[in-house]
């Protein structure tokens, strides 16, 4: 085979491979992203309608209620409350008054149905997204008062 033909084959093959890989990656990335929103943002209608998203905040004290395997609780940023239901076994570190991140879809009844509740390794750890939600809510409240 001629030298230039070989080069062209290698370069062409490489380009095709990179193109396919890029297409795969972008496509997969697009359909598997979950946006983080705070409870206040959910209230303001900023949550995506058709896609699953994640809510960060605190599990409100006294809101945990069990109904067989389904657990109902409220995720709050201390300003707005979002009711969430989850069916299944909660991670060990899920607790009232502690930070949590839940991946949810909206159900018909107005309650959000969680498909995933995130667990952490460390009991003193607050998920950055939960902390972020609290900070944001605090700021907007401070702004309203002044």
């Amino acid at each position: 085979m001629k030298r230039w033909k070989k080069r062209a084959a290698i370069i062409g093959g490489g380009l095709v491979a990179v193109g396919i890989a890029a297409a795969l990656v972008l496509n997969a990335l697009n359909s598997n992203i979950a946006l983080y929103v705070t409870p206040s943002e959910v209230f303001a209608g900023k949550a995506p309608k058709s896609q699953a998203f994640r809510i960060g905040g605190l599990v409100k004290e006294g809101s945990l209620r069990r109904d067989n395997l389904t657990v109902h609780f409220v995720v709050t940023d201390m300003v707005k409350d979002i009711p969430v239901a989850y069916t299944g076994i909660l991670p060990d570190l899920f607790k009232e008054g502690k930070g949590a991140v839940v991946q949810v879809k909206q159900a018909e009844s107005g309650e959000y149905v969680a498909t995933e509740v995130l667990a952490k390794h460390d009991e003193n750890y607050m998920p950055p997204e939960a902390k972020d939600a609290l900070d944001k809510a605090q700021k907007s409240q401070g702004a309203n008062k002044s």
């Binding site: 085979m1 070989k6 084959a9 290698i10 490489g14 491979a17 990179v18 396919i20 890989a21 795969l24 990656v25 496509n27 997969a28 990335l29 359909s31 598997n32 992203i33 979950a34 946006l35 983080y36 994640r54 069990r66 067989n68 395997l69 069916t87 299944g88 076994i89 909660l90 991670p91 060990d92 570190l93 607790k95 991140v101 995130l118 667990a119 952490k120 390794h121 460390d122 009991e123 003193n124 750890y125 607050m126 998920p127 950055p128 997204e129 972020d132």
Partner: protein
Amino acid sequence: MTPELGHFALILALCVSLVQGTLPLLGAQYARREWIVLARPAAQATFLLMLASFGALAWSFYANDFSVQYVAEHSNSQLPTVYRFGAVWGGHEGSLLLWVFMLSGWSVAVAFFSRTLDETMVARVIAVLGLVMTGLLLFILFTSNPFNRLIPAAENGRDLNPLLQDPGLVFHPPMLYMGYVGFAVAFAFAIAALLSGRLDAAWARWSRPWTTGAWIFLTLGIALGSWWAYYELGWGGWWFWDPVENASFMPWLLGTALLHSLAVTEKRGSFKSWTVLLAIGAFSLSLLGTFLVRSGVLTSVHAFATDPRRGIFILILLVLVVGASLTLFAWRAPKVALGGAFGLISRESMLLTGNVLLVVACASVLLGTLYPLIIDALKLGKISVGPPYFNAVFVPVMTPVLFLLAAVPLARWKHTDIKEIALRMWIPGALALIAGALVPIAMGGWTVLTGLGVALSIWVAASGVIQVVRRVRSSMPPASFWAMHLGHFGVAVFVFGVTMVGGYQEEQDVRMEPGDTVSVGGYQFKMIEVKDVPGPNYSAAQGAFEVSRNGKVSQVLQPEKRNYFSSTMPMTEAAIDAGFTRDVYVSLGEPLEGKAWAVRVYYKPFVDWIWGGCLLMALGGVFAITDRRYRLRVKAASTVPTEVAAGLKGATP
């Protein structure tokens, strides 16, 4: 007193590592022998100082010295002695100390096992390791000193995170770190070769056993971590595409590419620049991994409470390492002579394709891991990238890798005939097609993914077995031959396990009361009772589940829910009946009303093959290191002057 000695040793280690990192390098550059010969003693001194420092911290844990802040935060007087030792690296400060201790261990090993190597080369390698060590020691001393005192001393410690009180933890981080840090040696060899301009077959041969060693440790470390997550976290998964898991997986992918590319550089002298880039990349990703785990910038199951200053320091270190080494590469690489030419279809081209695909896989993992960070930094909102992304990208990229993997050993260097390969691959091909069609049906349902997975694993395994049988008939092959086939067979076993678990596992979350029975995967689980049992530093609710199949009782599983006295967080201990073809897995959720519990029951076919495959891969690596040609060199070189020996080594294929 002991902690102060440890602290002092750490500061001395910094001073010595600075000497180790500079003088031998300058000596090699300006041909000053008295500076070059400093490399080995400096490496030995740093190792001894790090040993003293690490020993001092371990002693503080053993002696329950709660006046040391790090000990007070990670241990407790009730903690069993074994875990007190494991707790040394149970937190940020201690695990970094372990990191540097291991780095000093690797450099002293290089100093010891490289007696036959060119003195200047060794000096450069040790010096580069010294520089890396200096950076990390500065990091420890300025942002994360494990010897900080707590005044007044704590009454008792806060205890080790219960999740980490497990035999798996005692071994998982050291293994993983040995791998991470081991790539520093491959990196140092690459940099030393760039500096000297001696990027030749001899360099590749020196570098190979070290890279393989690091790769073995990383493989075992990742497998251990995955196994630990499987039985300890109580979620029953073995891989979550969590950022921290990805952080260990990316260096592994590049390291695997590096192993194969080094083989080409050694045998054929090609791929030199590519090999150097991979070595730089693998180590940079190891550093990035440390940054991701320790900076707390990502939401991850592994994220521990962290200090942002630390993240910035590692980021600066990372930028310095990557920036300096790439600059050096850009400056020196154009002078690197090209290796042997090769045809469009040859062993080289196939290995190159596999290499590129591994790099693409690594890049896609990197993108998925960093994407949330990038979006956040651009103030476009906070997002997370889910596991389906990684699965969707990974399967199509790795499929051609597995396809090639079976055929590469048959291909010849320089040029190979595709017909010849096809002639020898039709048996494994036919076997793979048959198995891919039939095995999934026997397991209970054919899907594209299970068919593909089974076919690929049989393709790799069958072609390997046939090649081994053919080869053994003529003569006893060298260790490197066994190494390759063991490693590849491990991949086949791994793929088979992943396919089976992914396609046919069964899971149920149920509410159970004593006397209730649930059926999963053909097994019946009957809850007998849940009773309270005491442990050394916890109290537990222990369940008893009778497992039976076709009416025959095989075993009683006893999962636990533990409450550790020193923390408010409960811990799930799953009970697993492991078997060659399947695991059954029971874990307790929360207590419900009355005597009822939420219970999670799993049936996991062939799940242990996943880790078995990893073990085989690692074993392949061990065989690779024991290959005679690495030892022959020692004999040959001890009688022949170094330059002549190096020349000979370059000449032999």
